[in-house]
């Protein structure tokens, strides 16, 4: 790979990391805003009561339950971001494809929700374990989803499925796409570079509802590329 291609790839990796972090921290801040309001409501209910007034116990009792729900939501958001951050720890490691895809979908779901595009995940019945670079694979899947989002209308959908394919594995991202990209063109060249660095192969084919299926074929062993399927 040429130096400028390497440079572009690293810039793209950073942009991906930044986009995910920005979206997730925004969502986390929303949780804090809700918790702040509930805390304020508690104060209003307690401090607003005159000395001889009865405190509305039923109303107050609901507040900790709501706060707890938001704390659980925030915890889930942070856990996901933490796992994503750790995906750069090692460039070659064994990981569960199911967990990785659920994680990246969870991280980008808010972006799809903003555009009112449904992000549907259909996992296989069994776990698919792979060996390779989890950060790169997340970046590739994100790139495919982001490409579909660019061309999706409100009410559209993107479907992600994955399974074993012979000794390897395949990940299928199906959604709207521009005509040149549906034909296999990679307009900014970055997705192709990422796939090459991953040691994988990608092809596009028409799917139902005028959508396009982008299939990422993951190799069998590290010798065939940077991914090995267990």
């Amino acid at each position: 790979m040429r130096d400028n291609q390497q440079h572009n790839l690293r810039q793209s990796d950073l942009a991906f990391f930044g986009a995910i972090t920005a979206s997730v921290t925004h969502e986390f801040k929303n949780c804090l805003a809700v918790i702040n309001e509930y805390s304020g409501l508690l104060e209003d209910l307690l401090m607003g009561a005159a000395p001889d007034d009865c405190i509305d116990v039923d109303r107050i009792a609901k507040v900790p339950v709501s706060i707890s729900r938001q704390v659980s939501r925030a915890d889930q958001i942070v856990n996901r971001l933490n796992q994503f951050a750790h995906s750069v720890d090692q460039p070659m490691v064994q990981f569960e494809l199911n967990e990785l895809i659920e994680r990246i979908v969870g991280l980008v779901r808010r972006l799809a929700d903003m555009q009112r595009v449904d992000l549907e995940v259909n996992p296989p019945d069994d776990q698919v374990s792979v060996e390779g670079n989890p950060f790169l694979l997340q970046h590739v899947i994100y790139g495919c989803i982001e490409r579909c989002l660019r061309h999706s209308k409100q009410g559209g959908s993107i479907t992600i499925t994955w399974k074993r394919e012979g000794d390897g594995a395949e990940v299928n991202v199906t959604g709207a796409m521009g005509s040149s990209e549906a034909g296999g063109a990679d307009n900014d060249g970055l997705l192709s570079l990422l796939v090459t660095e991953l040691g994988a192969r990608v092809d596009c084919s028409p799917a139902e509802d005028d959508r396009t299926a982008t299939v990422i074929h993951l190799p069998r062993s590290p010798n065939e590329g940077s991914l090995h399927v267990g």
Binding site: H26, K29, A33, V34, E37, Y38, G48, S66, Q115, Q154
Partner: protein, 147 residues
């Protein structure tokens, strides 16, 4: 939403249902009449149906975002005072909001005392603008009759 005569009427627009629900409760305990909407389309429908003194509007919402919703609201009622809320206050967002006619631009979590002061200021501003519009209309009628 039951109107209290003379009370400040505010529409809260945010896709976070919990946030808008509890903010509504807190404002109601302070004598402010509120209604809520969870997206721009619903908010526009409510504005067409009734008069509000101020709108508290989230910047980032699914579908029609805060800026587009603000533009359409101003088209329906130019005197409407709109306060934009955001979880991430950048200078760029703030400038864009003010250029589009927002009265104020606040970052979440919201300081309740500050928000109430701004809403009261919004009510006064809207009243002045409405009175001015009425005066101008009366003047035009009188001028047209040569009085």
């Amino acid at each position: 939403m039951s109107d209290r005569p003379g009370s400040l009427k505010v529409l809260l627009v945010d896709d976070e249902e919990d946030f808008v629900e509890v903010l509504s409760q807190r404002l109601e305990t302070r004598g402010i009449t509120t209604d809520t909407a969870q997206d721009g389309i619903d908010a526009l429908r409510k504005i067409e149906g009734r008069s509000f003194d101020a709108i508290v509007l989230d910047l980032r919402m699914p579908g029609m975002d805060g800026i587009e919703t603000l533009q359409r609201m101003r088209g329906l009622d130019p005197d409407l005072q709109i306060i934009l809320l955001t979880g991430r206050a950048t200078l760029k967002d703030g400038i864009e909001a003010m250029k589009q006619g927002a009265m104020e631009f606040l970052e979440k979590p919201v300081d309740m005392a500050k928000l109430v002061d701004i809403l009261k200021e919004a009510q006064d501003k809207k009243l002045l603008l409405t009175e001015k519009r009425l005066e101008d209309k009366i003047k035009d009628i009188l001028d047209s009759k040569g009085w």
